[in-house]
Each structure stands twice: as structure tokens, then as C-alpha cells.
Symmetry: C2
Subunit: 154 residues, 2 copies
């Protein structure tokens, strides 16, 4: 998997979180995923299928970032991960993946997105079953952190 393919997801996440929640996420250097434990409390997962590619994406938000996004987008937040927060993460997952899809279409990579699935729970573990590499991207901000995983069959 090359940088051409990863950058649209980085740009799309930063764009969605900036536009929707006015929070600026800094992207740390990509790394291969080793620790399987999601470093957050709520994750959005979406499947991607295209002629050249087949894979899955998971975006995990820590509670602090999820709460701050909700506060900035809805004017109020919740103490716990509730339905409203999961809905918000579902929307963000759709927008993130949709944004990356548009950017990749410009490079002639086409894929379709499945419907998002939201997972929450303390120390939940997410493991992508793919033959290809698993890329973990960490994003930081003073409003909380996010972890984006992109995995494709090679």
C-alpha cells in the first residue's frame, strides 16, 4: 500500500473533524499495527469493496475527543458513550470514508462503501482479517486523540 492510497484518508479525517467540529487533528507518522487493542472507547468500522481493492477501515476516538466533537457539533455532550455519541461517530465514519472515496476516485481508484458499524466498550479489541498490511495512523489534539486503521487485501 503506498502513500497515494493513505493520504486521502488522512486528509479526509482531518477535513471532516475540522469542518464538523472545529477541531484540528495532527497526524502522527503511519505505523504498522502491532497492538490490537483499540486505544479509545468508541469505533466506527466500514467495509470497502472495489474492482482493485477490498478492505476495512476503523476509526477509533478516545472518550475525550468524542465528547468534544459532540459538544462542538450539538452544543451539548454526554458523560457516557450513549446512542447520540454512537450516531455521531457513525456519521463521522461515513463522511470520512466518503471523503477518501472521492479523493481516490480522482486517482482512478474506485470502491463502494458498506454501511458503518459502531463498536463501543472499554478496551475493546479490533482485528482486521486481511492478507495485506494493516496501517495505523494516530491523530492528536488538545481536545483528544483518534486512531485510524486502514487495511486492504494485498
Amino acid at each position: 500500500m503506498n502513500v497515494e492510497f493513505i493520504n486521502p484518508f488522512i486528509l479526509s479525517l482531518q477535513n471532516v473533524v475540522q469542518t464538523m467540529a472545529q477541531i484540528e487533528l495532527r497526524a502522527e507518522k503511519p505505523e504498522k499495527k502491532v497492538d490490537e487493542t483499540a486505544k479509545g472507547e468508541v469505533s466506527g468500522i466500514i467495509g470497502m469493496i472495489g474492482p482493485q481493492i477490498k478492505g476495512s477501515l476503523a476509526i477509533t476516538f478516545d472518550k475525550k475527543l468524542a465528547q468534544n466533537m459532540m459538544l462542538n457539533m450539538l452544543g451539548e455532550s454526554s458523560d457516557t458513550i450513549d446512542d447520540d455519541m454512537r450516531d455521531l461517530v457513525g456519521e463521522m465514519t461515513n463522511m470520512l470514508c466518503g471523503g477518501a472515496k472521492s479523493l481516490l476516485a480522482e486517482q482512478n481508484y474506485q470502491f463502494n462503501m458498506a454501511t458503518p458499524v459502531i463498536v463501543s466498550g472499554e478496551r475493546h479489541i479490533i482485528q482486521h482479517k486481511v492478507d495485506g498490511p494493516k496501517i495505523l495512523l494516530q491523530f492528536t489534539s488538545d481536545k483528544g486523540n483518534a486512531y485510524l486503521e486502514i487495511c486492504f487485501d494485498s
Copy 2:
């Protein structure tokens, strides 16, 4: 969503678990999903995309069933949900969805499958973001229980 569409998933799960692990699962009556907490410790999630359909599937195994399947398939099991068990659940998820795909193709419903994602963790919550109904199917056996959720955009 009609019975024609659900039955292939029921048959495929029973077939996969019977064939691979010699465990006979009884299907309880389908119900609409209300409680969002996965009633198990390890789940396989897979996205499905086709010309007529777009959705997601989650199969959740309780620890007892996951351990018994592993024992019957590999000759040994583990006390905790480990990588081997998650791998096995990933394979079962692929086979379950692949079997249903074949059966549905005979009825001219076509879809492609994304790569499976495995989630584990006590009391993790899975929420499908779809416009259509969410169907929860419970399966029981003396070797443990499973819960299958199928969700499609209407």
C-alpha cells in the same frame, strides 16, 4: 426484509458450525434488535454491498461456544479470547457470509463481501447504522450460544 432473505443466513450459519465444528445450533425466532449490547465475547463483522443491497452482518459467539468450536476444529482451546480464537471467528464469519451469498445468488440477489473485522471484549456494544430494520437471530446449543445480526439499508 423478507424471510427469503434471512433464511440463507440462518442455514449458512448452521451449516458452517455443523460442518466445521460438529455443533448443531438451534435457531430461535427472529426478533427486532432492541438491546445493543452484544451477548457474547467475540464478534465477526462484515460489510455487504450489491446492486440491490447494502448492509452489515455481525455474528457474536459467547465464550463457551467459541471455545467449543475451537476445541472441535483445532483439538485444543484457550481460556481467554486470543489471536487463534479471533482467527477462527474471522474464518467462520467469512464462510457464513460466503454461504449465504451463494444461496442468495440462486435467488438473483447479488452482493460482494468486504473483509471481516473481529471485535472482542467483555460487554462490547455493536450498533449497525442502517435505515432499514435490524434483525437479531439467536442460536442455542448445549455447547454455547450465538447471535446473528443482519442489517440492510431499506
